[in-house]
Amino acid sequence: MSDNKLKQTPSQTIGPFFSYALTPEQSDYNFKSIVSPEMITPETPGEHIHICGSIFDGNGDVIKDAMIEIWQADDQGHYLDRDTPPSSEVFTGFGRCDAEVNSGFYFNTVKPGSIGVGHAPHINMIVFMRGMLTHAYTRVYFSDEMKANEKDEVFVSVPADRRKSIIAIRNEDNGKVTYQFDLRMQGDNETVFFDV
C-alpha cells in the first residue's frame, strides 16, 4: 500500500427526492431516462422473467422512497463488456427502478445464465433509500436452481438459516414467469447483505 494513496469519498444517502434526475420517465418528469426497469425487447434471447418485490423496514412497514438497481449476465452467462456502451439494441444487464411508483420494485429481464463453474445463476442488486447513508448489496438467487445454488461459493457462505432471504420464488401463470423477491431491511428475516 503506498503512502500517498487517496482516501475514498464518503457515501451519503440518496434522500427522498432523486426520481426527477435518476428515474425521471418512470416518475413522469420532463427529463430523459438512461436506464429503466424494462431491460428487454420481445427479441431479447433467453427466458423472459418479471422480478418484483416490496421493501420492508424494521417495523414491517413498506418503504417507498427507495431505488433498486440490478446488474446481471445475459442468458448465456455473459456480462456486457465495457467496450459496448448500453443501447436499445443490446441487452445491457443493467436496470433501475424507483420503488415510489409501484410501492415496490420490478424488473422485466431475462433469467441469467451461470457465469462459470461454481456460480449459480444470480442477479446483483443494490439498494438505496432515504434513511440509509450507504447503499447495500445483495444477490438474487432462483428457487428453481437449488442444485446449482448449493454449489455456489457465495450462496453457501451464507449461514443456512438465512439463505432463504436471497432466493426469489418462481411462479408460472399462463406462460408468464414471475419471481417474488422481497427485501427486509431489519428483523429476524433480514435480507442478507454482502460486504462487496
Partner: protein, 235 residues
C-alpha cells in the same frame, strides 16, 4: 479469481447503516453483519455509459429545465475529477446530479417545503467523464431547506452525486457541500462519517480558475472511488 483485487470499502469513511442522529436510519439500516464476499466478475464488472447516451444540455442545469426564461439564482460551475485511490483518472464514468433550486425547494412532487418552485429549473443533470476523468456542470447554487429530523433541522446546501466506477463495487452516491457553510456542523448526515476528516472530503472548494469571469463562480469537487488494487493479488 482471487479476492481483494478491488480495494475494500473504507468503513472509517463510509457512514454506518444505523446512525441514530439521523433518525430514519433507525428502522431502515441493516443490523446483521455484512457477509464477506469473494469477488467475481459479478462485482468487478459494470456497464459503461457513453457520450452517445447524453442529450444536449444534460450537464447544463441552467438550460435543461427552461420553459419560458432563465432559472433564478446564482449561476455556478461545478467541476472536478473522478480518480481512484491510486490517483488514476476514471474516464467514461457516468455522473448524475440532483439538487434543490435557489430557494431550497426540490421539483419532486413529494417536497412540501413552503418555498417557490422555479418553473425554469429542474435540478437534474448528468455527464460522462472525459479521458482525464474530468467532469463539469453548470447549475444554480442550491438553497438550504428544513427537514423533519429534529426541531428546526436544516440541511446545509448540497448537490447529490451518483457515480458508476469501473466496477459494481465502486458504485457511489454522495453529496457535495459548499465551503464555510455554518450548517455543516449541525447536520447529522454530513457528520455521519466515523472518521471526522472523511467528511471534509465532501466539501467543495471555491476556485477562481474554473468559473467564468464575470459570469459564474467555480466550485471544484474531486471524487475518489475504490480502485483495482495496485498491489499483487493474493492467491
Amino acid at each position: 479469481m482471487s479476492d481483494n483485487n478491488i480495494d475494500k470499502r473504507d468503513w472509517q469513511t463510509h457512514p454506518p447503516y444505523v446512525h441514530l442522529d439521523y433518525k430514519s436510519t433507525t428502522f431502515r439500516g441493516p443490523q446483521k453483519p455484512l457477509i464477506p464476499i469473494k469477488h467475481s466478475l459479478s462485482e468487478l464488472s459494470v456497464p459503461a455509459f457513453g457520450q452517445g447516451q447524453m442529450h444536449e444540455h444534460d450537464n447544463d442545469l441552467t438550460i435543461n429545465g427552461r420553459v419560458d426564461g432563465e432559472p433564478i439564482g446564482e449561476r455556478i460551475i461545478v467541476s472536478g475529477r473522478v480518480l481512484d485511490e491510486y490517483s488514476r483518472p476514471q474516464s467514461g464514468i457516468l455522473l448524475e446530479i440532483w439538487q434543490a433550486n435557489a430557494a431550497g425547494r426540490y421539483i419532486h412532487k413529494a417536497d412540501q417545503h413552503d418555498a417557490p418552485i422555479d418553473p425554469n429549473f429542474l435540478g437534474g443533470g448528468r455527464c460522462v467523464t472525459d479521458e482525464n476523468g474530468h467532469y463539469k456542470f453548470t447549475t444554480i447554487k442550491p438553497g438550504a431547506y428544513p427537514w423533519g429530523n429534529h426541531y428546526n433541522a436544516w440541511r446545509p446546501i448540497h448537490i447529490h452525486f451518483s457515480l458508476f466506477g469501473m466496477s459494481l463495487a465502486s458504485r457511489l452516491i454522495t453529496q457535495m457541500y459548499f465551503p464555510g457553510d455554518p450548517l455543516l456542523k449541525l447536520d447529522p448526515i454530513y457528520n455521519s462519517t466515523p472518521d471526522v476528516k472523511a467528511r471534509e472530503r465532501m466539501v467543495s472548494s471555491l476556485s477562481m480558475d474554473t468559473g467564468i469571469a464575470d459570469i459564474a463562480l467555480g466550485y471544484e469537487f474531486d471524487i475518489v472511488l475504490r480502485g483495482l488494487s495496485a498491489t499483487p493479488m493474493e492467491q
